[in-house]
Symmetry: C2
Subunit: 323 residues, 2 copies
C-alpha cells in the first residue's frame, strides 16, 4: 500500500520526466515553469491513492493522474489572467513573467496536453475516463464563470456560493478520486462514494481556505491573512456576513468594502464585524457539516478500513491545514 | 454519394441542434454566437466527404466533423483576443461583444466541448481519432505561437513561413480529411494521402488568401483588400519582398512599414513595390506548386475517380476562390 509520500514521489518524478518539444520554446517553457513549481500535488495523489484501494500496481493510473495535475495548472494559468493575479505560489504568474497572449496560448496547449495524458490510460477505460474528464472540465469552467459573475452581484446566497465552489474546486477532487477508482476496477457504487468524498471534502477545504484567509496563522497557512478582505472577494464569510447583518452592520460592512486606501484598518474592521456577527463560528459549523459528509461517503466505500486510512488522514490534515 | 451542399446541410442542421446548458448563460452564449455565424464550414465538410469516399452512411462521422468545427471556432475566439481583432465574419468578435475574460473562458469551454464531440465517435476508432485530434490541436497552437513570434522578427524566411501556415492552417485541413478516412475504414496509405492532400491544399489556400488580400476583387473575395498591408502582417508576399528586394527597394519597403498615418498611399506604394519585385507572379507560382502536390496526393487515394470528384471540385473552387 502506498503512502501519500510514496505517491508524491511518483508524481514529482513523472512531472520532471515530461518531454516537451524543443520548439517553439515560447509555447512550452511557460508550461514547464508552472508545472514544476512547488505545489501540493494533491489531485494526482488522489487518483493514485484511489486506484491503490483496489490494486497494488498503480502504473496504469499515472498518466491520468498527471492529466489532472496538468489540467489543474492550466486552470491556474488562465484564471490568473482573468483575475489579473501577479503571484502564484510566490512566483510571478505566467502572464506577468511573459505576457497575456503567452498565458492564453500556453494554457490552451496545456489543456490539450492534459487530454493526451488522459487518453494514454490503458484501452478499455478510455471512454468513461474521458467522459468524466470532459464533464468535470466543463463544470470547472462553469464554476469560474459563476465566480466572476458573483464579484459583480450584491445578492449571492450561501447556497449559490457553495454550488460555485462545488463546480470550481470540489468536482476536481471528486473526479480525481473517481478516475483512480475506475482504473483500479472499483464498482460503480464505490466510484460514486469516492466521488462524493471528494466533493464534500473539496467544499469543506475551500470554505476552510476562506476562513484561514481571515483568521489563519500566516506561519502555518503559508500566506498573509486579509488578502480576500482587501480585494472584496466574495467568500463564504463575506456572503454570510452580508446576508446575516442587520441594517446598521450591513451599512458599516458596505462602507468598508468601498474603502480602498486604508488596508490595515480595513482588515481589522471587517474582521471585527465578522466576529460580532459570529461568522467564524457559523463558518466552522458549515465546514464541519461537509467534512462529516465526506467521512460518511468514505466509510461507505467497500474496501477494508485499513486501506482507506491514507485518504482519511489526508482529509484530517486538510482540515487541520497541515497540508 | 454526397455533394458538398448535402454535407453543408447536415453540418448546419447539427450545429443548430447542439444543446447548451441553460446556465451560466455568460459561458455558453458566446459559443453559440460564434458557432452559428455564417462560415464556410469547410473543415467538417472534409470529414464527412472523406468518410463518404468509403461508405455511403456518414452518420458515424458527424460528431467528429462537428468537433473540428467547434475546435476551429475555439481557435478563432482565442486568436481574436491575441490579435486584438474587432470583427469576425463582419460581426463583433466575442471579446468585443462581451469582454476578454469571457472570450478566454468560453474559448476554454469550447475546446473541451470539441473533445466531447470527438469522443462521441463510435468505439473502436476513439483512440486513433483522439490522438490525431490532440496532435493536430497542439500543432495549431505551435503555428499560432510562430505567427506571433514572426511579427516581431525581421528575418523570417519563406520556408519558415510555409512551415508556420502548415501548422496554423494546413494540418487541420489534413486531419479533418484523415479522421473521416479513419471512420470510413480507409487503409493507412489512403489516410496519409488524404492528409497530404489537405496539407498541400491548406498551404496553397493560405498563400492564395495572402495574395487576394492585396490583389483580390473585394466583391469576390468578400473582404476589403489591403488590410494585411495596413497592419504590416508578415504574409508570404511581404516576406518574399523583404527577402528579394535590393537595398534601395528594401529601404523603401521598410519606410512604408513604419508609416501608419497614410493608409491609402501605403497600400498603393507597397502594392507597386510588390509589382516591381514580381511578387504576385512568384506567389502564384508557389500556390501552383502546392496545388499540384495536393492533386497528386488525391490522385494516389485508392478510390474510384468518380467518388473523388467532390474533393477535387472543392480544391478547384478554393483556388479560383469561389468558396
Amino acid at each position: 500500500m502506498l503512502s501519500l509520500q510514496d505517491t508524491l514521489k511518483i508524481i514529482n518524478r513523472e512531472i520532471q520526466a515530461i518531454q516537451y518539444p524543443k520548439t517553439p520554446a515560447g509555447l512550452y517553457e511557460p508550461i514547464a515553469y508552472l508545472l514544476t513549481m512547488k505545489g501540493k500535488k494533491l489531485r494526482p495523489a488522489f487518483t493514485l491513492l484511489a486506484c491503490n484501494l483496489y490494486r497494488d500496481d498503480v502504473e496504469a493510473a499515472i498518466c491520468p493522474a498527471l492529466a489532472w495535475e496538468i489540467f489543474h495548472n492550466f486552470t491556474l494559468m488562465h484564471d490568473d489572467v482573468m483575475d489579473k493575479a501577479e503571484l502564484r505560489r510566490g512566483q510571478p504568474t505566467v502572464h506577468k513573467k511573459w505576457n497575456e497572449n503567452t498565458a492564453v496560448l500556453s494554457g490552451d496547449a496545456m489543456l490539450i496536453l492534459s487530454y493526451t495524458f488522459m487518453a494514454k490510460s490503458l484501452a478499455g477505460n478510455i471512454k468513461p475516463l474521458l467522459d468524466l474528464f470532459s464533464m468535470t472540465a466543463t463544470e470547472i469552467c462553469e464554476g469560474q464563470q459563476y465566480d466572476m459573475e458573483f464579484e459583480r452581484r450584491p445578492d449571492v446566497s450561501e447556497q449559490e456560493y457553495i454550488e460555485m465552489i462545488r463546480l470550481k474546486t470540489a468536482v476536481m477532487f471528486g473526479a480525481c478520486l473517481r478516475s483512480g477508482a475506475i482504473i483500479g476496477g472499483a464498482n460503480e457504487a464505490d466510484g460514486q462514494n469516492l466521488y462524493d468524498f471528494g466533493i464534500y471534502l473539496g467544499i469543506a477545504f475551500q470554505i476552510k481556505d476562506d476562513l484561514l484567509d481571515v483568521y489563519g496563522n500566516p506561519d502555518v497557512f503559508g500566506k498573509e491573512t486579509g488578502r480576500d478582505i482587501l480585494c472584496n472577494k466574495k467568500t463564504y464569510l463575506l456572503i454570510s456576513a452580508l446576508n446575516s447583518a442587520d441594517i446598521t452592520d450591513k451599512a458599516e460592512l458596505l462602507k468598508w468594502l468601498a474603502c480602498n486606501d486604508r488596508p490595515e484598518e480595513k482588515i481589522v474592521a471587517v474582521r471585527s464585524l465578522y466576529d460580532k456577527l459570529a461568522i467564524p463560528e457559523k463558518t466552522d459549523e458549515t465546514i464541519r457539516i461537509f467534512y462529516k459528509k465526506a467521512l460518511t461517503a468514505l466509510q461507505a466505500v467497500s474496501v477494508d478500513e485499513n486501506r482507506k486510512k491514507v485518504l482519511k488522514n489526508i482529509a484530517e490534515k486538510l482540515m487541520e491545514r497541515e497540508l
